[in-house]
């Protein structure tokens, strides 16, 4: 990176300890570099995502470490340097949005521009209001806006300041899918025009896929994995991340044998004689591991399937069916208890009822070994 200043990079290397009643209860320990464009911060609640954003924005002071943007230090414990949030030129959209309730939409949007002349201020506001489709709302108070309108105002208020860094803490939670995608479109258009690092916290897989160039998984205050959304969220390597990424099935198994020539290993479900074939790992025969499988990756058949490429076919009994939104959650006992996602149409055409004998079909590569 030395000598390159054209790209604005955010580099963070910090530690911050939180104590309750004198004993340490949470440690944020992050070393990571963020390139321009979207980086999704992913992790279960309590993993330290908001704390990390607060440290980068200057609302919290880390115990030690360095935060710098494009070589300019925001924080450097060795030099006792702490740039207050007013001087960092970052934009931060909170989960709660924090619109000023007593100011109009226009006043909210212009709030961060007080250093400019009124002509410059007016010009910037007049440009951002239509860009975020909130021009007709300019005289309204936040209390008179819908959820989606509030989110647009909060984004416009932050982006109008021409920040060098954008922090978004679940800014689109609670919106319906269509509205979310429309706002994401606006954000992506803005990102294409001004290449700055954008840290985007979300739990929503759809949002990850819509913006995610890169995912950083934060678990218990540390970066557990980073990479493309597919690598991090579709093949998690830790139990905590598998939970956070929505893997419904976590099975306790032990390794039976390696079949290196086939690129697989056989594992047995604990306390049963059910066996599964999963991708070859480094765990030796006899080792106890856990396997994560998405409920949506499991097929269900009412007759014993034949002539399939899938290697794992487990006979079992359908125990329950529970409609949840546009899908039905089925529990199947096949050695262990499996959660399977089905469509209401599949339930009808297969005439599924609790107590029915069924077969579960699992592709080898839908099974992921995860470690504690």
């Amino acid at each position: 990176m030395a000598g390159e200043v054209t790209v604005s990079m955010l580099s963070v290397s910090i530690r911050k300890e939180f104590r309750a009643a004198g004993t340490p209860c949470f440690l944020l320990d992050v070393k990571e570099t963020f390139a321009p464009g979207f980086t999704v911060l992913f992790g279960p609640s309590g993993a330290g995502k908001s704390t990390l954003l607060d440290c980068i924005a200057g609302l919290l002071r880390p115990d030690d470490g360095v935060i710098q943007l494009n070589g300019e230090p925001f924080f450097d414990s060795a030099r006792d340097l702490f740039l207050p949030p007013q001087h960092r030129r970052t934009a931060y959209v909170f989960q709660s949005l924090a619109l000023f309730p007593h100011l109009s939409v226009e006043e909210n949007v212009a709030y961060g521009l007080s250093a400019l002349s009124s002509a410059e201020r007016r010009e910037l506001v007049e440009r951002i209001l239509p860009a975020f489709h909130i021009e007709p709302l300019r005289a309204r108070k936040p209390g008179e806006l819908s959820g989606g309108e509030k989110q647009r105002v909060a984004l416009a208020r932050s982006l109008v300041t021409q920040p060098r860094l954008l922090l978004l803490d679940e800014p689109l939670t609670g919106l319906d899918a269509a509205l979310r995608l429309a706002i994401l479109q606006d954000l992506r258009a803005w990102n294409a025009a001004s290449r700055i690092p954008i840290l985007y916290v979300t739990h929503n897989r759809e949002e990850v896929d819509a913006v995610g160039e890169r995912v950083v998984a934060l678990i218990n205050g540390r970066v557990q994995e980073s990479g493309t959304p597919r690598a991090v969220l579709d093949a998690p390597r830790s139990i905590a991340l598998a939970h956070a990424a929505g893997f419904e099935n976590l099975l306790h198994v032990h390794v039976v044998e390696h079949r290196a020539a086939d690129g697989v290993m056989r594992v047995a479900l604990d306390s049963t004689n059910c066996e599964l074939e999963i991708p070859l790992g480094t765990e030796p025969p006899g080792a106890a591991v856990q396997v994560a499988i998405r409920a949506g990756d499991i097929l269900l058949a009412t007759e014993s399937p034949r002539a399939l490429s899938a290697r794992n076919i487990l006979p079992g009994t359908l125990e329950s069916l529970e409609p949840r939104g546009s899908l039905v959650v089925a529990q199947v006992r096949a050695g262990a208890c499996f959660t399977v996602h089905l469509t209401p149409g599949a339930i009808r055409s297969l005439q599924l009822v609790p107590g029915l004998r069924v077969w579960l079909v699992l592709k080898t590569h839908s099974c992921h070994v995860v470690l504690p």
């Binding site: 924005a57 200057g58 609302l59 207050p84 949030p85 007013q86 001087h87 960092r88 030129r89 970052t90 934009a91 931060y92 909170f94 709660s96 924090a98 000023f100 309730p101 007593h102 709030y111 961060g112 007080s114 250093a115 108070k141 209390g143 208020r157 932050s158 300041t161």
Partner: protein, 224 residues
């Protein structure tokens, strides 16, 4: 009814609540937002007038304001007369007496603000002063009005401190509550009753105003 005493009481209450607001705003701001561990000590000092008998407060005020007290000596040096038994002396003693009534509603109001609003203001580049005047103060107006109204009403009705520090000089230190006491002592119950009723009515209206506002009956933008 003794209109001199009534007028004097209103003048005292108005001056005291106005000065108190200026003093209480920075004090309450500091108490609400400081992370200093010893702040409970200062909080206790501010709350003392709530529990002390007014005569105790009045006694020490008299000593401090008198010709041998530090404040009294300074005053005498500056203006050539002592503070005890003057209107200015009454104002100073009443400031101490009513301080918690101004500070506590403000602290409560500041502490109930959504901290994320203050964070958002800082991140948008606003200095502490701008955050205070543009965000904290406008959003704390119920607390502000409560502080003003309570210190006004409390000063209007004070008795012990006024008697100790001010004595009973008509037109200068004879306030309305002292007037009621005098009338009752002189067995002029009709006059005492008129004045007492007036004070009762004012106090009720003032409290109804404060409670109504804190229920957000008249709040234009916080209502959901």
């Amino acid at each position: 009814m003794n209109f001199d005493a009534l007028l004097l009481s209103f003048r005292l209450a108005a001056v005291v609540s106005a000065v108190l607001l200026v003093l209480a705003l920075p004090l309450a701001y500091w108490l609400a937002f400081t992370r200093w561990r010893g702040k409970f000590l200062l909080e206790s000092v501010v709350a003392l007038p709530l529990v002390l008998p007014p005569t105790v407060l009045g006694f020490y005020a008299l000593i401090a304001l008198g010709p041998r007290g530090p404040l009294g000596r300074l005053w005498q040096y500056l203006f050539g007369h002592t503070l005890a038994f003057t209107f200015a002396g009454l104002v100073i003693a009443s400031l101490v007496y009513s301080l918690p009534f101004a500070v506590q509603p403000l602290i409560a109001s500041f502490e109930s603000l959504d901290r994320r609003l203050l964070d958002a203001s800082s991140i948008l580049g606003a200095s502490r002063a701008r955050t205070f005047f543009r965000i904290i103060l406008p959003l704390s107006w119920p607390g502000l009005v409560t502080a003003l109204v309570l210190s006004f009403a409390h000063t209007l009705g004070e008795f012990g401190v006024v008697l100790m520090v001010g004595g009973n000089i008509p037109g200068i230190t004879r306030t309305i509550s002292i007037d009621i006491y005098d009338r009752a002592q002189a067995l002029d119950f009709a006059a005492a009753n008129h004045t007492a009723l007036l004070l009762l009515g004012i106090s009720f209206i003032v409290l109804a105003l404060v409670y109504g506002m804190n229920r957000r009956v008249w709040s234009p933008w916080l209502a959901k």
